[in-house]
């Protein structure tokens, strides 16, 4: 099953993914429409840039088994057997924050949404853009990411890639005078030097 893969070392903290996410989860599904909506759509992933100079795109990992599902007292959280995602049903969510207590990654936000009955505040998190997936498109955050910090693919493939990159890095370090840090694009390493 495909999922959004995060490479925090590539993230520059530009927030484009947050904007794209909010737009995707608006009623209008476009930026101009979203800006004028009565209930402002909220992004479902967080970045922690700023003071610490360490941007980290933090979003739901769609764990299996999901700790949030086990503690949900409203029966609002379920696993999608086909997509492999952990989904929150806004019609059942009671905004009790039990899931925030259980999520080891702190990815939940509580805010009003047009998708909930009476536009109540409910728990919001990544749903991996089901409408886009149905249309064969990439999740909004992946489409918006310009530096390859967010990609869409199989976790196993990403693990194989990462393992290979690590093996190459180790190998390269045995070679005389390893030149560059592997896996880091030149633009990013230059940017890191600037800051």
């Amino acid at each position: 099953m495909k999922t959004v893969i995060v490479r925090p070392e590539r993230c520059v903290g530009c927030w484009q993914c947050r904007l794209a996410c909010a737009v995707e989860h608006s009623r209008a599904k476009n930026l101009v429409g979203a800006l004028f909506e009565e209930i402002k759509p909220k992004p479902r992933l967080r970045l922690y840039p700023g003071r610490l100079h360490w941007a980290f795109p933090n979003k739901c990992r769609h764990c299996d088994p999901a700790p949030c599902q086990a503690v949900c007292i409203a029966g609002a959280i379920s696993k999608d057997p086909v997509r492999g995602t952990t989904d929150i049903d806004p019609a059942r969510c009671i905004n009790c924050a039990m899931c925030a207590m259980a999520c080891p990654f702190g990815v939940l936000t509580y805010a009003a949404t047009f998708a909930a009955p009476e536009r109540r505040a409910v728990a919001l998190k990544c749903d991996q853009c089901p409408d886009r997936e149905a249309a064969g498109r990439l999740p909004a955050c992946v489409e918006a990411c310009k530096v390859g910090a967010l990609t869409y693919g199989e976790v196993e493939d990403a693990q194989v890639d990462k393992g290979r990159a690590l093996a190459q890095a180790v190998f390269a370090s045995y070679q005389a005078a390893a030149e560059a840090v592997p896996g880091l694009p030149e633009t990013i390493s230059l940017w890191r030097k600037l800051t």
């Binding site: 925090p8 003071r51 086990a70 503690v71 409203a74 059942r92 924050a97 925030a100 207590m101 990654f105």
Partner: protein, 410 residues
């Protein structure tokens, strides 16, 4: 293999589903004294406050038992368990035989033991039937006294305000949620209660219930004051439901003693959830904390071990999340450090309603309280607590105001 489970709430269902995932053939019988499909008890106060519709409290669909291959015995209270002959006797004369038995019978509300508790107008709030009774008996707009400012009492107060009742909250301790919150967090909660319009009195306990024409009309307090009320809800905690185990040695008042494998002293009998007395995650002492996440975790472990998995339960990490009028407070672990190596860190921003309190002992995080918008990060602190790692070994100082989790995983 014949598996029998007494109780169809959080622990019972978690166990049943775990057994089925590991044993496709075995017969699984689920016994409950309630006639309804499995429902969520924590949602009852939301049902009372008409925040959720009646059908939303049910956690499973009508075909749930068939789909999972469970044999339900609903509306059948257990009279007796006989460990020697491996029998469960149900009301109505039926006897169910078991190879492995799980007791997940839960708990029932404690009463105060004061005169007048049998009057019309005195309620508890634990079962769906209790909400039905309240719906019938509550006079619209009438005044209601709630005894006990625990999670049930607080949510019931919010629900009754939504219904247009006048609410008086009485608590014997000096603050709401006294076992979970410190003075400051409890103060924030008290502010929310006041803004809801709840009149709360702390440090008082009722000593008698007054009657007028066979109905309750008020409470007499230990400071000689009286509170008039058309109804009273007693929410002073629960006691484990293990009366039907009389004669087996498992009917202890604090709960059924269990090993870290969720086994009782009897071979083939396991216990999980509110009726069991499992160890505290941090102190290792048997602890009577009755929370939904612990019930699910214990049910999963008991279920797996009934099929021979040999999984160990780490213990209950006491924690709870209370959300009143949209204000969230999440707290857990130890409230105070014990011993001289303890340290408490506080961070309060009243204008933003933000409060963060961390309790350290021997260099490890052992307690956390979060209120306000940052309460959503609570799981990260609980994860640090569960790992039991010294905080100085973490790549980032969790005390710092700029603490963010990115550095933990980088």
């Amino acid at each position: 293999m014949r598996y029998v489970i007494i109780g169809t709430s959080a622990a019972g269902l978690a166990a049943a589903e775990t057994i089925r995932q590991r044993d496709r053939q075995g017969g699984i019988t689920l016994i409950s004294d309630e006639p309804h499909l499995p429902y969520s008890r924590p949602l009852l106060t939301y049902l009372l406050g008409r925040e959720v519709d009646a059908e939303k409290i049910f956690l499973k669909s009508h075909d749930y038992f068939d789909r999972w291959g469970f044999e339900p015995r609903l509306g059948a209270p257990v009279l007796k368990v006989k460990p020697e002959s491996r029998e469960v006797h149900l009301e109505g004369g039926e006897t169910v035989l078991y190879d492995k038995l799980l007791i997940a019978s839960g708990a029932s509300p404690r009463l105060l033991g004061i005169p007048g508790e049998d009057l019309a107008g005195v309620y508890t709030l634990r079962n769906l039937a209790d909400v039905e009774n309240l719906e019938k008996g509550l006079p619209p707009g009438g005044s209601v006294a709630i005894v006990g400012a625990g999670a049930v009492g607080l949510k019931a107060a919010e629900a009754l305000i939504r219904r247009g009742n006048r609410v008086t909250l009485l608590e014997a301790e000096s603050r709401p949620l006294p076992h979970l919150l410190d003075q400051t967090a409890a103060g924030l909660l008290h502010q929310v209660l006041t803004s809801l319009g709840v009149e709360s009195h702390f440090g008082v306990r009722p000593v008698g219930l007054m009657e007028k024409k066979g109905r309750l009309n008020g409470l007499l307090l230990d400071n000689d004051n009286t509170v008039t009320a058309d109804a009273v809800i007693i929410a002073v905690g629960v006691r484990p439901r293990n009366e039907f185990l009389a004669g087996t040695g498992l009917d202890r008042p604090e709960g059924i003693p269990v090993s870290p494998f969720m086994e009782t002293g009897h071979r083939h009998i396991f216990a999980a959830g509110d009726c069991a007395c499992a160890p505290h995650f941090l102190t290792g002492e048997p602890a009577a904390y009755r929370i939904w996440p612990a019930a699910v975790a214990q049910g999963e472990i008991a279920g797996a071990n009934m099929t021979g998995a040999g999984r160990r339960y780490d213990g209950i990490l006491p924690r709870n999340s209370i959300s009143l009028k949209g204000v969230k407070i999440i707290a857990g672990g130890l409230l105070e450090p014990d011993g001289k190596d303890g340290e408490v860190f506080n961070e309060l921003d009243r204008s933003r309603g933000h409060y963060r309190r961390l309790v350290f002992q021997n260099g490890c995080l052992v307690g956390v309280t979060l209120a306000g918008p940052k309460a959503a990060d609570a799981g990260i602190y609980f994860q640090i607590m569960a790992r039991k790692v010294p905080v100085k070994d973490l790549p980032v100082d969790i005390r710092s105001a700029a603490f963010h989790p990115g550095k933990l995983w980088a």
